[in-house]
Each structure stands twice: as C-alpha cells, then as structure tokens.
C-alpha cells in the first residue's frame, strides 16, 4: 500500500503537466499509466500550437498557454521543438470570409487581438504554395507547432525530477472511495491511496469514471494523420482551410504532416486502430487540390491516434458531480496539446481548493444533460 496526496491516472501531457505543477506546489503525487507515458495521442498528435480558431470558451486559457510556449526551456528544460511560424486559416469563398470576419469581431469583443483578418493578397504572401480558392482568411502570427513526443518527454522527465512518482504498466482495475479517500488498485498488483484523485486519461476518461459509476460523455475517436518524405522548404505556417478537412504543415526537417480529422476504424477494447483508406484517399485529394506541389510527395507513414471527443468539442474539467475529491480533466477533443501547460497550472490550483487564475466553469461536466 502506497500513499500520496494526489493520484493522477494517465501520464499523457495533461496528466504529466498537472503532476508537475502539483509536485512544484509540494504535493506528493503518484502518476499511474496503463502502458508507458509516450504511447498514445499525447506523443503522436499533430503538434499544433494554436490559438487561432479556438472555441470562445477556450480562448483565455489558450492565450495564457501561448505565453508559456516560448518559455518552455525554463519550464521543462527543452524548447519542445516549438516553432513560431504562425497559423493561417483560409476562407475559400465569400461565405467563409463573412463567417471569419464575424468571428474576429467576436474574439476582439472579448478583448483578444491575436486573430487577424487578412485579404487574399496577404494569404498569397504567407502561403505561396496554396493554389486553392481564396477570399482571404485569418492569421495568428505567433502561433506555430511543436514536437509532441519531445514535449511529453520533457514534461515527464521534469515531473519525475520534481518528485512525482510515475508507475508505468499500471492499468487501473478498480477504485474505491471511502472516508479516508481513494484506494486505487492496478492490474499488476499495485495498491495506491490518496485524498484526491484526478482522471487525466484522455480517450479512456469514460472508462475511469465508470469505475466509480459515473458517466462521462467522452467518445473515443481515432484520428488519422500522414507524413511525407522530406521536401524542399515551401511552407512556413500551419494551414487550414475553412470547411475543408485539411490541416497542413511542413516541419523544420522538410517532412510534411497532413491531418484534418479524418477518422479511422477503432476497436477500443483492443486499442487497435485501422486506417480507413477511403478517408486517406479523400485527404490526399484535398491536399493535392490545394497544394499541387504535393502531387509527387512520397507518403512515408499513415497512423491514427485515439482521442477523447465530447459532444460539444470542449474538454471536461472539474470536480465530479458524484464523488467529491475526484476531478475529471479529459475529453480535450483533439486540441488539448497547446492548452496543456496552462491546464496543469489551473488544475493544480483547483484541486488544492484555490481559485484558478482563469475560470474553468464552462468546462464543468454539469453542462451535459444527465451526465451522472
């Protein structure tokens, strides 16, 4: 039997960042991971570091997180491969442009000015290789991308050096909640106790909640990506096209990473994803249509990562409605990567009973009907 102040389930980036912040606040933390830290979406996602086009509720956290990204070396001893080449979201037609114009007005009315409305000429300058339709778009010039595996490793290493006790291959099999707190049992025979329990298990968030008979509306979804062999440098910012399933970036080494939320087949019980090549074909067509330079690009690898998606595409952050002392921090719906350094800070305050620097109320599980 091992005892800590706080147990965190899930050593992805959200769990690790939370663990790091709690350890720095002097708490004893166990970080339980069913496999190894770098197994799933936290280490294999597209690595977008994006404030652009965020849900309004997320903007304050995203903007605060953005201030942390250029300072990563000081925070976790690695720049995490962060490159600030900007993010661009292109409006292919008048309707999209109208929509984006209204959006920027909305963002500005909240007091944020990172999203900039630009015309077609400016898009041409920013993304010369783009040959699709264009009526303008929006830009966040200091957004960019980072290297997920490197980021997770840096957070994990720093967390451990700050005293977090991480347990790999420790799949949680049962959780009981008594007067003295939580008792967590793992399949490999571990038994852990704490007053506070944080569910940071991403796509598995619903499974963990179910162990305490709580329903979380998180749908595991496998999102596909592909990467090409190195190409001559032709693109700096990360590019998306409004209304099209396309997310597109060229890394420093010349490889091009293509996403766009194309869904793979998923057998959650086996944690096995099978790419849907009908979707990959669509993805390849979309890329070619907008970036003809990509026709001859050589596809080296396609893969899918398992993400936890909620009905409204917003994460679930907050104390359980059913079990006091249990906190859910999961369901980031494929856009948690950029937020994670800030989420760790906010959740650390929240679970210590302090008021977080930024409000988290919008993410309470109570927003869903009949969640418990």
């Amino acid at each position: 039997m091992k005892h800590a102040d706080i147990i965190i389930i899930g050593a992805g980036l959200i769990g690790t960042s939370t663990a790091l912040n709690l350890a720095r606040a002097g708490k004893k933390v166990f970080l339980l991971e069913k496999e190894s830290s770098a197994c799933h979406a936290s280490a294999v996602n597209a690595g977008g570091v994006r404030r652009l086009n965020r849900h309004f509720e997320e903007i304050p956290i995203s903007v605060a997180a953005m201030e942390m990204w250029p300072q990563m070396s000081a925070l976790v001893g690695s720049d995490c491969g962060f490159r600030s080449h900007g993010q661009v979201h292109i409006a292919p037609d008048e309707n999209s442009m109208k929509f984006l114009t209204n959006r920027v007005a909305g963002v500005e009315s909240l007091g944020f000015f990172h999203e900039e409305l630009v015309d077609a000429t400016e898009i041409k300058l920013l993304v010369p290789a783009y040959k699709g339709k264009c009526k303008g778009g929006i830009v966040a010039r200091s957004d960019g991308f980072a290297l997920p595996a490197v980021t997770l490793k840096a957070f994990f290493k720093t967390a451990c050096s700050q005293g977090v006790e991480a347990y790999a291959n420790s799949k949680v099999s049962s959780i009981t909640c008594g007067e003295n707190g939580f008792s967590v049992q793992t399949e490999n025979g571990g038994l852990f106790e704490s007053e506070i329990l944080i569910n940071c298990s991403g796509a598995w968030g619903g499974n963990i909640a179910a162990l305490l008979h709580e329903h979380l509306p998180i749908k595991p979804t496998a999102l596909s990506m592909m990467v090409t062999a190195r190409m001559p440098r032709f693109l700096k910012p990360v590019v998306g096209v409004h209304g099209r399933k396309l997310s597109f970036k060229q890394m420093d080494n010349g490889t091009v990473v293509i996403g766009g939320a194309h869904i793979s087949f998923l057998e959650m019980n086996k944690e096995r994803t099978t790419l849907d090549f009908k979707e990959m074909r669509i993805s390849a067509s979309t890329v070619q249509e907008h970036f003809p330079i990509m026709k001859t690009a050589s596809i080296v690898r396609c893969w899918a990562g398992i993400e936890g998606i909620t009905d409204d595409d917003l994460p679930i952050i907050g104390e359980s409605q059913k079990t006091p002392g249990l906190f859910h921090v999961c369901g980031f719906s494929a856009h948690g990567f950029q937020l994670s350094p800030m989420i760790g800070r906010l959740v650390a305050s929240l679970v210590q009973g302090k008021k977080p620097e930024l409000p988290l109320d919008a993410f309470s599980v109570s927003r869903f009907k009949n969640p418990v």
């Binding site: 790999a168 074909r281 080296v300 690898r301």
Partner: protein, 465 residues
C-alpha cells in the same frame, strides 16, 4: 479482376509459388502478387531467362526453381508481376501498387511469402558507395548478369555469404580478401547437431569444395574477424578489419558484407502479430503454428519470412499452408487433409535436419552491434549510435519511444535498415532481455507511394468491415 479471392499470396519465391500451385491444384482461386518483374523470388530470381552458363555457375539449388515455375505456369493460379504490396489488414484486405496505380483486393486468406532480407548492420563507412550486401550482388548477377569490378573484399558469415563467394569466384571476379566473421567457438557449439546434419553430406562437400577453391586460387582468407570499417573519399577505397592479430588493411573497389539473413517482418509487425526471438540467430520471427497459421485466422506466413530455413523447406512450408487453407475452405476432405499435412510435415522435418547445425555454426558474433558512438545507424534521418544512447540514458525505455525522440527509424524505410541495430542498442544500454523489448511499430504504407497515387487509390464499391 474479381475483388474477393480465396487466397492472395504475397511473394513469388519458392514458398509463395509452392503455396499458390498447391492451392490452385486443390481448386482454389489464387492470386499471387509479387513486386519483382519475373517469377522466382530472390532464390530463383530471373530463372526462366537464365542461360546455360548462369545455370552451371549457380548450380542445382538455383536450377531446381525451373521445375517449380514450370508447374506454377501450368496451374490455374494468377500472377501479377510488379505489384508492390503496401498494406495488409487483418480482414484479408491487401493494398498494392502496380505501374503507379494502387488498388485494394481481398483474400479469404492471405499467405505472406515475402522471404528474408540481409541483416542490416551499421559499421563505420557502411553508407559509402561501393559498400553493398553480398546477397544483393548475387541478385544483380541473376537479374542482369552484372558482376562487381574488383578488387572485391568480402566480409561476413553464413550460408548465403559462402554461396555468393562461390558464385563470384566461379565468375572470375577479382577477390581482394575474404574476411570471415564467424566466431571460432561456434564450431564446437554446433558439434552436437552434427550427426543429424550429416544426412546432408552434399552441403558439407559443397562448402569444403569452395574453401579449397579459394586456396587453389590463392585468395586471401582471414578467419576470426571481429570488426571492419570501410574507408574512402567518394566511394570505398580501403577496408580495415580487426582480429586478435590487430588491425589490418586491404584495398577494395567493392566491399560486400553479409551477416546472415533475417525474416522480413514488416507485414507481420504491421498486423500486430506476436513475434518470437531466436537467440541463436538473434532475430524476430512471427509466431505461427505447424502449418504457418497465425493468431489472425486470415493470415498465414510461410517460407523464410516465417523463419530462415532456405529454399527447399520454403517449398514445403508453402504447401502446408495451402493444404490447411483448402481444408478450411472445404476444398479438401478432413481425412485427406490430415494425411497430406502429416506427409508434408515429415518431409519438412527431414529437410530441416541440417538447420540446427547451420544456425549454431553461423551464430552471429557477439559484438555485431557494438558500434562506436560516431557510427551512423539511421541512414534516412542521419541518427548516430551516440544520439540513440543519449536518448536512452535520458529516459527512453523502448525502441518506439527512442524513435519518437531521435527520429531513428522514422524515415523513408520505416526502420527496415536500422530497426535491429536500434533494438540491440536498447538491449545493451538497458541490459534487457530481447523478449522484453519491442520491435519498431510499422505503419502503412509499408512501401512509399506518392500522394497523387493515394488520391487515385481504387477501392471496392461496397466496402465491408
């Protein structure tokens, strides 16, 4: 072409051809996909066009393929040449590229007969032009009759090493030196397996004949070599090698290296099948049963891709899988299936008499992967052994994590060249048992295809899963 076939065989070498003709002989609808332009795989490469001189030099191990291919030609099995398979799914879906067009096809069963590859071992200078696999040079000779220009230096160990050496001496290639890396203690360890192996006296006579021939030709033959490096400015000019006598040098126009064959596991790993570790030969091989069936009902593995046994056993292994599938698809009554399988298994067992002796005799040297920090391991992403060791010392625990951090194995070849070396470094640095390590995860496409080709991928109209 019909979308659903009884059996799709991947690879047209001895195992694939045998599986295909056995299955089609039992009335099954068989399609063979093979990336080579001609039937025969590596062993029987280009044999239908081989001239008398080639047949004489390559001998009966090669010539035997003619008969097999003739039988295949007379069978009802269909063959698609130049078809490179780049993805296989557990439900039997196979994706292949032919002449720039990719298509999907499905087999009720898929027989993987993709053979073995030369073990890729990084050493200083291994990326210099003029440094090649010995087996690759043998293949070139089979396909186009080309031979390397000397002085050729050979380094390595194993049956294929010796047979290539034999072919090249018969062809009159100028050989600068032969550096035999077989550990000298192996012979003693292999002795217990000698009596069973003696049934194949012909192999011993062949090997002895070849060594005598080297002596007769006055070719420098050095035993007990435990390391080598290639040197040169724009291409290899010199090879240095070490033994207990210290470091020596020899001039080289071409440097041919061969440190044994390993099963090609790209597709079995892509499919997530269980793999076992062979401690003698130090390689992963897919876990199969006595007829080549895997834990996925659809998928069979035969030939050297299942375990490196050589050509004759590959032919038998191919037939075993075909007969088993014929039973499953009701093309063969149970009693005759049982009888046929028993006969084939007996045949296989006798064909393998020689193998334990060979596997121990040619057990790789223990320092095979003990490369210096400066040695380039991943050619695609230019990652050195030192960078890999640093990542491991900074907390990477397995090859996939190390790959994500260092990019070793992330390039065009998806780790086919560097995967073994990466895993061996992990075994060494973390003092792991090989079975406690994980080979690199494979992702489709296992062979690169262009984005334009993917956008034109031909798929079934009604896709079911």
């Amino acid at each position: 072409m019909s979308e659903l076939r009884d059996i799709i065989v991947v690879g047209a070498g001895p195992a694939g051809l045998s599986a295909a003709l056995t299955a089609s002989g039992l009335g099954l609808d068989v399609l063979v996909l093979d990336e080579q332009p001609a039937l025969g795989g590596q062993l029987y490469r280009n044999i239908e066009k081989a001239n008398e001189q080639t047949l004489k030099i390559l001998g009966s191990d090669y010539g035997r393929g003619r008969h097999l291919i003739e039988k295949f030609r007379n069978s009802n099995a269909e063959h698609l040449a130049g078809a490179t398979v780049w993805n296989i799914e557990a439900n039997g879906n196979v994706y292949y590229s032919k002449a720039g067009q990719s298509s999907e096809i499905r087999g009720k069963h898929v027989i993987l007969a993709i053979g073995a590859a030369e073990r890729s071992v990084p050493f200083p200078g291994w990326t210099l032009p003029g440094v090649m696999g010995a087996g690759a040079v043998d293949s070139n000779f089979k396909s186009s009759g080309t031979i390397p220009e000397g002085p050729v230096v050979f380094a390595g160990s194993g049956p294929l090493f010796l047979s290539t050496l034999g072919h090249m001496t018969s062809l009159g290639v100028e050989i600068g030196a032969v550096l035999d890396t077989t550990p000298q203690g192996n012979l003693l360890a292999a002795l217990p397996f000698l009596p069973r192996a003696m049934k194949r006296l012909d192999y011993f006579l062949k090997g002895a004949g070849m060594l005598l021939n080297l002596r007769r030709l006055g070719i420098k033959y050095a035993k007990g070599i435990n390391g080598y490096e290639a040197h040169g400015r724009d291409r290899v000019e010199k090879v240095s090698y070490s033994s207990k006598n210290g470091v020596q040098h020899v001039e080289a126009g071409v440097f041919l290296v061969h440190e044994g064959l390993v099963p090609r596991c790209d597709f079995t790993q892509l499919l997530g099948l269980k793999h076992c570790w062979d401690a003698a030969q130090r390689y992963w091989y897919p876990q199969i049963n006595h007829v080549g069936a895997t834990e996925i009902d659809t998928i069979y593995v035969v030939g050297d891709g299942a375990f490196v046994h050589g050509g004759m056993p590959a032919i038998t292994k191919g037939s075993l899988a075909a007969v088993d599938i014929a039973g499953k698809l009701n093309a063969l009554p149970l009693d005759s299936k049982t009888v046929t399988l028993a006969k084939l298994e007996k045949k296989l067992s006798s064909e393998l008499d020689f193998r334990p002796f060979v596997d121990v005799l040619f057990r790789p040297r223990s320092n095979l992967f003990k490369m210096s920090d400066q040695t380039l391991v991943c050619r695609c992403e230019e990652v050195t052994a030192g960078e890999i060791r640093r990542a491991i010392n900074e907390g990477c625990l397995d090859s996939n994590e190390t790959k994500a951090i260092t990019r070793c194995g992330m390039g065009r070849c998806q780790g086919r060249m560097c995967g073994s070396a990466l895993n061996e470094i992990i075994i060494d640095e973390l003092n792991r048992q090989p079975l406690d390590t994980q080979p690199l995860r494979m992702r489709p496409p296992v062979r690169n295809i262009s984005l334009a080709e993917l956008s034109q991928l031909s798929l079934f109209k009604n896709r079911v899963r």
